[in-house]
């Protein structure tokens, strides 16, 4: 366990953050905190992708002095995936926040259980 944490510090941190974010999104009652949990969950995965995409001592994948030896550079794809992923999760956060604003205006609370209660009573 200790060796795992020491050798793969970033990856372990990423997975722990993922679990925190996932649990918050699943269990927290407050909508804003849920959205924070969601961001944390997604960002943890980007940390995971970025951390193993980097290999110590290698350069960013741009030709320097015409050196085409692939051993010199890191794979550019993980960074590309992280960038794409960030765009995706930002847009999802935006729509979640917009939805939260509308829910708050209508029900005057951010507690999802209270909203569920009101919806159930309205349905009767």
């Amino acid at each position: 366990m200790k060796a795992l944490l020491a050798d793969h510090m970033h990856e372990s941190a990423a997975i722990i953050l993922f679990c925190i974010g996932f649990t918050t999104l699943l269990l927290n009652k407050n909508l804003i905190k849920k959205i924070i949990g969601f961001s944390m969950m997604d960002n943890a995965i980007y940390l995971f992708l970025a951390s193993y995409g980097y290999i110590g001592g290698r350069l960013s994948p741009i030709y320097i002095n015409g050196d085409t030896n692939p051993e010199m550079y890191v794979n550019p794809l993980p960074a590309g995936l992280v960038l794409t992923g960030i765009v995706v999760s930002v847009s999802v956060s935006a729509i979640m926040l917009a939805l939260t604003v509308r829910l708050y205006r209508h029900y005057h609370t951010l507690d999802i259980d209270e909203i569920a209660e009101i919806v159930r009573e309205e349905g009767r």
């Binding site: 999104l25 699943l26 909508l31 969601f38 992708l49 794809l77 847009s91 979640m96 909203i115 309205e122």
Partner: protein
């Protein structure tokens, strides 16, 4: 060779239209969206014709960059057929609820409704055609956004909350999917399916990284299972489907969940390899969940009196069938899974607008007991509901019957314990289906004293036409099952050939 660019058009055109419809007036947005949707139907039909007549499957390399850096689309006749079905059903669902969409959606948002619909169209096509797992992820999120918006576009109490619950569950699912993807990418270094399969086969042979591989497969499976509402994760579904506007319910139940499942089987068969996937145990987990889904989804449907919630719960059971077929673990099972997907899409997308029309002519009541005699007041909707209900129950000559037949056939070939489990689940669920669907059909055709036999509002001619095409589609899926299955089998045959 120009037709080989059709797959790109199928994705890019609706995506472009979605931003254009946002600034147009509602009526123009609708015309444009429906026009593009019809064009997509024609183009995918052409694609299907070409792939079937030439007997080929091909990959479209984006920007001519190959693996491991490039991005690809892959088209065989199975993809072309699914694409055609998705596009056609989206078009029909939107036209079947032509007037209802106007009534239920606030004027300010009517144009945006079509923005969301074209976004969904692009995402569905992309999920069907992609050959790249990360592209799959991106379009999964686009589908989630579009689907969430489809639910809350209706100005009705509770729709907002249903949409929020939908989004939360789906985001949990896509989070798990993304983590699984990240781990799998770390192990294989590939995102394109065929190359990924080579790497997984190598890992499997050397026995290296067995635990991370299993973990990533479980994460991917669980993520997609949550998103397509497999049994224990279905709690968001009934509210989301029953509170959305009818067109949106059709789209959500018949297309959104199916697109995830199509990506799932593509991942299993092309990205990982059936053998490696089944030996990881993820397939067995899905099998057990699916068997429970089939029985318990139907039980929930029986307990429900609201007709739209009843149809929603029946979706839970039907999703169970689809996953069950896929989890049998043979190529035959996967083919049956695709057929069941098409049959269910065609039937469910017809049931929602039909049920809505039936309740419209019964004073807006959604309790099935209040629908007495509505089959006489809205004959076409009554017929459509009956055909849909019969198809899902599995009456011969309709799509649902052939699907059940193919699933059983696949199970018989697979043999073993799974055969008995499949037969038991199918038998139990058919009986339960008969209980809740036939009681509704009988109620719909029972004479009522409350209402006169004439509806006060006639159906929009376009909606009527859409329902007619839906009925024909269901009959075609039943009568032409053999031919359609051949197309699916040929297409999926290419999937297993490798790079």
């Amino acid at each position: 060779m120009l037709w080989r660019n059709i797959p790109i058009v199928l994705i890019v055109l609706p995506l472009f239209i979605s931003s254009l419809t946002a600034v147009l007036k509602p009526a123009a947005a609708r015309t444009l969206m429906l026009g593009v949707n019809a064009l997509c139907v024609i183009l995918s039909a052409l694609l299907l014709y070409k792939t079937v007549s030439l007997g080929t499957a091909f990959a479209v390399k984006m920007g001519e960059v190959g693996a491991p850096f490039g991005n690809e689309l892959y088209i065989s006749s199975a993809e072309a057929l699914t694409c055609l079905a998705f596009d056609l059903i989206e078009l029909l669902s939107l036209t079947a609820a032509f007037r209802r969409a106007d009534e239920e959606i606030h004027t300010n948002r009517r144009g945006l409704f079509f923005t969301v619909c074209s976004l969904l169209l692009a995402a569905l096509n992309a999920l069907t055609l992609t050959n790249d797992l990360f592209t799959g992820y991106v379009f999964i999120e686009i589908t989630t956004i579009a689907a969430g918006a489809l639910i809350f576009v209706r100005s009705r109490e509770g729709a907002l909350f249903a949409s929020m619950r939908y989004m939360i569950m789906n985001l949990l699912g896509s989070g798990l999917f993304l983590l699984g993807l990240a781990v799998l990418y770390a192990l294989t270094g590939q995102l394109l399916f065929p190359q990924m399969q080579e790497a997984v086969t190598l890992l499997e042979a050397t026995g290296e990284y067995g635990v991370p591989l299993t973990a990533s497969l479980l994460l991917l499976t669980l993520g997609l299972a949550i998103k397509s509402a497999l049994y224990p994760f279905h709690t968001w579904l009934p509210n989301a489907y029953s509170l959305a506007t009818p067109a949106a319910s059709s789209l959500l139940s018949s297309l959104v969940s199916k697109a995830y499942i199509f990506l799932y089987i593509k991942l299993v068969l092309r990205g990982i390899g059936l053998k490696a996937y089944m030996s990881s145990g993820a397939g067995d987990v899905v099998f057990v969940y699916a068997a429970f889904a089939i029985v318990l989804g139907s039980v929930d449907a029986i307990r429900e009196h609201n007709i739209r919630r009843m149809i929603s719960y029946s979706s839970v059971a039907q999703i169970g069938y689809i996953f069950l077929a896929a989890a049998i673990g043979t190529v035959n099972g996967i083919c049956a899974c695709v057929f069941q997907m098409l049959a269910h899409s065609a039937a469910k997308a017809m049931l929602f607008p039909a049920a809505d029309r039936l309740s419209e002519v019964s004073g807006g009541n959604e309790n099935f007991r209040d629908l007495r005699g509505s089959g006489y007041r809205a004959p076409l909707a009554g017929a459509a509901f009956t055909v849909g209900a019969f198809s899902i129950t599995g009456i011969p000559l309709l799509g649902g019957f052939s699907a059940k037949l193919f699933i059983t056939e696949a199970a018989v070939y697979a043999g073993g314990l799974k055969l008995y489990a499949v037969l038991a689940a199918l038998a139990a669920s058919t009986v339960l289906n008969v209980v809740y669907f036939l009681r509704t059909v009988v109620t719909v055709y029972r004479k009522s004293a409350v209402f006169s036999d004439k509806a006060d509002k006639t159906a929009h001619p376009l909606s009527a036409a859409a329902l007619c095409v839906f009925i024909l589609l269901n009959l075609m899926l039943g009568a032409g099952a053999g031919g359609i299955m051949n197309i699916i089998r040929n297409g999926i045959g290419f999937w297993t050939l490798g790079v």
